[in-house]
Symmetry: C2
Subunit: 477 residues, 2 copies
């Protein structure tokens, strides 16, 4: 039935790049292994023009397309459904760095470039591309943009959106919009760039981007501070922002229980300060020198001690020590995985309301689910917490999820709403949170979004069933 | 004929706030006096709900709406056409600062707040709202957002878009979208905020916004540097960015002829350095101290002298001296007005291509219009030049404009296109550049924009004839 389409695709991209049958789980199974689909075919075009040809062919045959970068998304947005009718379009062969313009502080790259390769290409010219997140070794810049990825330096440099000046996009009709631009100011019509950024492949396919670069800082120094409460953590943030300004490039909070799990499962990782209800990892990027950075850090932390915002602190004395502090922070997701599955939330609230959000939600969870444990960590500087709920000690994690996930989500998302927050700070909606979005977003906003989707993809062929879609998606069996 | 509508409007906002007849030129004539329209009425609602009621009434009567803030736009986007059929909706009575959340570094304000009032409300809490531009004493934040205003600190803090976290908007159907958000991370659907920002009132009416604030810097110091060429100016920018990082908050270039005009018309304004082909005004905002700022500036400028990027420099030694350097920069538009009308261009190109753009365009203009003089200044750090063409000395400016404006525009915009630039960096499209946009924007981009307009404002009642509109607009007689 699909033979004519497959013939057209093979002619367009070459037969070796049209995969049907065999083990396609690298493309069909999502990273968290919650969604396993079946593709009509996996197609790997090698150029923007080939992407356009594939999209045109699918339009002619009425076939839906699921675009995919590194397939590292956390919300099931980049794998096909189980129907066997959706084409999986992988961008991974579009992986050229097209241009670096050092004097303009920009680089233009194909969508399939791996984030780490983008960082390295910038670094090779002594420049910085600041987007940084756990999956950087395999996620692609196209996926980062399609989901408006966040990460650890948002506080200073913004999300993926703020790091992008222009896009190249293949529209649902298979036309190429060349919106690649190295301009920092351009007020000529609607902001199509930011509409496509974060649209999760539902309005078209990002094939290239022009990104912002920055000079490499002269030094990066980290510090660890123990705080007794989240109120103090917020006070420390204000103190650090006032004294370090844009030099403050990281401000990560780690809950005491999260660090206990690291100590339990990775005892070899050094924790330099005595246990505390909360620990903050601060990073400073300095344009002058390491000595200057350390001096500033020390005087800021002394002030914070005097103001009783922190109870103890340590400034890393070498790059190795800095790395080891980041390693501690990055080990939390792995340590919680060792402890067993938990119920994850990627939420944000205004920074000022973080303490009240956590206090109220912790208390309600303790009442509703006695013994449930909270693995709490995240990007406090951005108001973004990974607020994860772990089964009571000694009980079955799988059973806890099965029995309580829906109720736990409801409780947490109600609290998020009461604190004017977001149910998806940096991971997006995908298939996982689609129903939740429909329930919780205002009717006016949903109406505007649906009008836009209908206008730009009237046949609902771009990543249907994601974000706003209506097509069913099949969870893994 | 319009009596029933006017009755409804009077009932909605109070009779004193529905103006018909009398001198309405404050609302009907644009700031540059190029567009004089005639409104069906001027309506001044006092709340978001009143705006919604007005929009609903206009929808019921099929009447088009032109939203207006401070009426300081430069492209004729905020005055009605001459038909007498369009309602002028002024946001000026929506002027409350709703909330300042210091710990979250945000403030929420009504759209009609004057920019300077927003700056002052932030400053009263020792915080900074960094948007700054010539019209700040009368432009409104709603207009700034509707046009994605730029100004003098874009280099560090971005355009209006980057300074806004959330919006409240009345849609063309008269519904209220409450997208006010103090979140720095929120990936729950399409980016409606950035779609409305820069849409020039053609998709709905911005009634309030949540804005980003920053800690006030401890000191601001400016410096003036003489450079022999734009290549050197770009080199100086790179040097300053590498050494000052985010501390560099201003980098303005001023052409020699622009400064000659200031000397001619405002001889009382001190110009501290001997004339040079180009002069650069640098501003540094420092989180530590004035001494630290000055020391950094001096060592950076010494390095620039050694690298032969600059020929001379002076660092302001007091706040008064800093102000007087900014005053010099700000006098250029006034000095060129004294010299007579000129043909203005608000263009941007990648920073790296500024020297080539100016060299080529200057040469072509000199050939096509012998004696034409170039008043050239702008925000070099953002690639944004106000590239203005003045009549040959001793000739009639009015006649030069009448005879050559179209050809000059064509020549300049062709060069902009050849350098991958924008014909409107920070002023927008409005009525003035609508035809130019249609001619120069890609068909794919225009198609996407028109689909969005059609989807969100199917009856074309929001600021018709602007940006993409089809209704005629009448220039001033």
């Amino acid at each position: 039935m699909n033979a004519p389409l497959l013939d057209t695709l093979r002619a367009a991209v070459g037969a070796p790049h049209v995969l049907v049958g065999g083990d396609l789980s690298a493309w069909e199974l999502d990273w968290r292994k919650r969604y396993r689909g079946q593709a009509l075919a996996v197609v790997r075009p090698g150029s923007t023009q080939e992407v356009a040809t594939v999209v045109q062919a699918c339009a002619a045959h009425g076939v839906a397309i699921v675009p995919q970068g590194g397939n590292t998304g956390l919300v099931g947005g980049s794998v096909p459904d189980a129907s066997g009718t959706q084409l999986l379009l992988s961008l991974q062969r579009l992986n050229r760095v097209r241009e670096i313009d050092a004097a303009n502080l920009t680089m233009t790259v194909d969508a399939g470039c791996v984030l780490q390769a983008v960082q390295e290409a910038a670094a090779a010219q002594s420049l910085l591309f600041p987007l940084s997140l756990a999956a950087e070794g395999s996620c692609t810049i196209g996926g980062n943009l399609a989901t408006n990825a966040g990460g650890t330096q948002v506080l200073r440099y913004g999300n993926a959106r703020e790091l992008c000046l222009g896009l190249e996009v293949v529209t649902p009709a298979g036309e190429v919009w060349n919106g690649l631009s190295g301009l920092r100011k351009d007020n000529t019509g609607y902001d199509l760039r930011d509409l496509y950024i974060g649209s999760e492949g539902t309005l078209g396919i990002i094939t290239a981007a022009t990104l912002k670069l920055y000079p490499q800082p002269a030094a990066k120094v980290t510090a660890l501070a123990a705080v007794g409460s989240l109120e103090q953590a917020v006070g420390l943030l204000q103190c650090a922002q006032a004294r370090l300004g844009a030099g403050l490039t990281g401000f990560e909070v780690m809950g005491g229980f999260a660090l206990e799990l690291v100590a339990k499962h990775f005892p070899q990782i050094r924790q330099p300060l005595a246990p505390s209800p909360w620990m903050v990892l601060l990073e400073q990027s300095d344009t002058e020198s390491e000595v200057h950075a350390r001096t500033l850090f020390e005087s800021m932390l002394e002030a914070a001690l005097e103001q009783e915002l922190i109870t103890d602190a340590a400034v890393a004395e070498s790059i190795d020590q800095s790395r080891s502090l980041w390693h501690l922070r990055e080990s939390i997701p792995l340590a919680q995985a060792e402890e067993g599955l938990n119920i994850k939330h990627d939420i944000s609230v205004p920074v000022s309301r973080i303490p009240s959000f956590v206090a109220q939600t912790d208390a309600r969870l303790a009442q509703a689910f006695p013994g449930a444990r909270l693995v709490n960590f995240g990007h406090l500087g951005d108001g973004n917490l990974h607020y994860n709920v772990q089964a009571p000690e000694g009980t079955s994690a799988a059973e806890f999820l099965r029995e309580h996930e829906a109720q736990v989500n409801e409780l947490v998302y109600d609290a998020v709403a009461a604190h004017s927050g977001s149910i998806s700070a940096e991971h997006g909606i995908g298939a996982l949170k689609r129903e939740e979005l429909t329930r919780r977003k205002s009717a006016v906003a949903l109406g505007l979004m649906r009008s836009i989707k209908q206008a730009l993809d009237p046949d609902n062929r771009m990543n249907p069933g994601r974000m706003l879609g209506s097509a069913p998606t099949a969870p893994a069996p």
